[in-house]
């Protein structure tokens, strides 16, 4: 945010040396904070790329995860990630849209229901991801559902984990729809649901899409809960159904990174590049959707 009037420029002549020195020191500290973030990011990307560069070939992409460094690949991890993350994203999105529509369009901001669900969402958003792993271990992999360490277990747990992000994104998108849309619909005699379904939700689609892509990216990069749900394994085939064993990209990175043989470090870095590329594609899609919708409004 830049201030329109910027008097510090015209008044600098009245600033004495001591204040000037303090200002310089303060600005230096700010730059230090910025550089800390920027330099770390650059070093991280460059170091990973240089380490993993040698692995960026077809053998690596088409090979399966393996305990032998020279055979180590990522294909089963890529497909595992897709099998786990896509259903998680879609189911979480549907629940999030329903919740957001209910809270924004059917309840009043000061109502008890809304206060209660708001508190629930805030609490869920603050739960560490590893705790979702415990939940999955107790109720989904074992216990009442007893699905074992399979694709569907991982998918359900990730869906629950990203639910708060998805809901917040959908709510913001719905809130951003101009109220004239609703007024117009109601004036034509629409019922509340007709108004939501035919006017509000279609107008909110770009916003919901951008927001939910962020949620899906989180699921794609998440490792902690899946450590507990059997994804930390070498898997030599792609999943063919929801009941199959699986591994995901973040956990093959983890597995390669913890192998003693230094040859595996290249494989870990190579897998990171693949994961970052997938995230890049997702986020690029989000940006394109955002820009398209901005033009049309």
């Amino acid at each position: 945010m830049s201030i329109i009037l910027d008097p510090s420029v015209s008044l600098t002549s009245t600033v004495d040396g001591k204040r000037r020195r303090k200002d310089m020191l303060f600005l230096a500290l700010l730059w230090f904070g910025i550089l800390l973030a920027v330099v770390t990011l650059v070093v991280l990307l460059v170091d990973t790329f240089l380490t993993g560069r040698s692995r960026l070939n077809w053998e690596f992409l088409s090979g399966h995860t393996s305990p032998f460094a020279e055979d180590a690949g990522v294909q089963s991890a890529i497909f595992g990630s897709l099998w786990v993350v896509l259903p998680a994203g879609i189911s979480s999105l549907l629940i999030a849209i329903g919740t957001a529509a209910y809270l924004e369009e059917f309840t009043k901001p000061e109502s008890k229901v809304q206060a209660f669900i708001n508190l629930t969402i805030q609490t869920l958003a603050g739960v560490p991801s590893i705790v979702y792993g415990i939940l999955g271990l107790a109720f989904v992999a074992r216990g009442p559902l007893d699905w074992g360490f399979t694709v569907r277990t991982a998918s359900v747990v990730l869906a629950m984990m990203i639910l708060p992000v998805m809901i917040v994104a959908s709510r913001e998108a719905i809130r951003a729809v101009p109220s004239s849309y609703r007024e117009g619909a109601f004036a034509l005699g629409c019922s509340r649901w007709q108004c939501v379904r035919q006017q509000v939700l279609p107008a909110a689609v770009p916003g919901i899409a951008t927001g939910s892509i962020l949620g899906v990216s989180r699921a794609l990069g998440e490792s902690a809960p899946l450590i507990m749900l059997g994804a930390l394994a070498y898997v030599s085939s792609n999943p063919t159904g929801f009941g199959d064993y699986y591994t995901v990209l973040p956990l093959s990175i983890y597995k390669y990174a913890t192998e003693a043989d230094s040859e595996f470090q290249y494989a870990a870095a190579g897998a990171i590049i693949v994961l970052l590329a997938m995230l890049l594609v997702l986020n690029f899609t989000a940006i394109v959707i955002r820009d398209r919708s901005r033009k049309s409004l």
Binding site: L5, L27, F32, I34, P109, V131, M160, R182, M228
Partner: protein, 318 residues
């Protein structure tokens, strides 16, 4: 709800429909509303499931291990014979990693927030914001790999002035966790700064201070509640971080505050113990849930504090 006609208005319009259609539409509306309401209660079910998965095994755990043993000892060997269940070994490590992370994230995040809010030109903002977004979206396993593969050997082991550093150490884990939370800290702090009314800041500038004086004298105190809340949320994130700590700090649970040593935090213990396929009906298995409950309670309290701080100390601007 941005716009809502009164219930009477809707019913008035309803009355224009023929009575059969009216009836059908009302029932349909009622059904849809009920379905949506049930959907929105899924979040509540998830929260109950989280609590429900944690509490029963924790109760069983405390029937086998006394509170005195859990909270009174500093040795933690739950999976060995003879086992020891002193949570302070994990607590000290959690505190250690959290403190290092906060030392990086809070000053760094505040600096970035002040910079974005008052100093950065639009052009700089346009590059800086996406950079922070990329950093915020970076998977934790990537940070973990970076910590163990770059930060530990190239920075921590080379520059640590006080003797030997373990290859797996709390310091590189803490530093990288700090970098991981920095963008979130920046965003939350800058949101707080943005919600200060422009008139207050313009009024301050009219009195002839420098930018630094406005930052420290006006913006910082006005945004304080939001800044405190963002620090509390950062604390909670640092405490709950698993993968980075698991990769970079190793797995030796010991009671220490020495950042050069390998340590195990609450969260990284859960991940570590969850890797091995534990026998489900053992005290070792239930330890995961006991520690999980402890972790959940800590983050829950921090979360409530942050909500309260924002609500109670928010300067109300009309």
């Amino acid at each position: 709800m941005s716009f809502s006609p009164s219930q009477e208005a809707i019913e008035l319009l309803d009355n224009l429909l023929p009575s059969g259609a009216q009836q059908r539409r009302r029932i349909y509306e009622r059904v849809v509303q009920t379905v949506l309401m049930c959907t929105s209660f899924i979040t509540v079910i998830v929260l109950f499931a989280v609590a429900g998965s944690l509490v029963p095994p924790t109760i069983d755990f405390f029937q086998e291990v006394s509170f005195g043993e859990f909270f009174g000892r500093t040795e933690w060997y739950p999976l060995f014979e003879p086992p020891a269940y002193g949570i302070w070994a994990l607590m000290s490590a959690t505190f250690l990693v959290m403190t290092i992370a906060i030392i990086v994230a809070v000053p760094g995040g505040l600096a970035a927030a002040f910079f974005l809010n008052q100093y950065a030109s639009d052009r700089v903002r346009r590059y800086l914001k996406p950079t922070l977004e990329i950093l915020a979206g970076m998977p934790t396993v990537v940070f973990g790999f970076f910590a163990v593969n770059f930060v530990s050997p190239n920075i921590v082991q080379k520059l640590w002035p006080f003797g030997e550093v373990d290859f797996y150490n709390a310091l590189s884990a803490g530093l990288v966790v700090g970098i991981m939370i920095l963008p979130m800290m920046t965003t939350l702090a800058e949101d707080a700064m943005n919600s200060i009314p422009k008139a207050l800041i313009e009024g301050a500038y009219a009195l002839g201070p420098t930018k630094r004086e406005v930052c420290t004298g006006v913006i910082f105190p006005s945004a304080l509640s939001g800044i405190i809340a963002s620090i509390v949320i950062s604390l909670s994130r640092a405490i709950g971080e698993t993968t980075i700590v698991l990769l970079a700090a190793g797995a030796s649970a010991k009671f220490t505050l020495n950042p050069a040593e390998s340590v195990q935090t609450l969260a990284s213990f859960i991940g570590f113990a969850g890797i091995g396929d534990q026998e489900t009906d053992s005290t070792g298995y239930r330890t995961i849930f006991a520690v999980g409950t402890f972790l959940f309670i800590i983050t829950f309290i921090l979360n409530i504090i942050s909500i309260r701080v924002v609500r109670r100390f928010r300067e109300v601007y009309e």
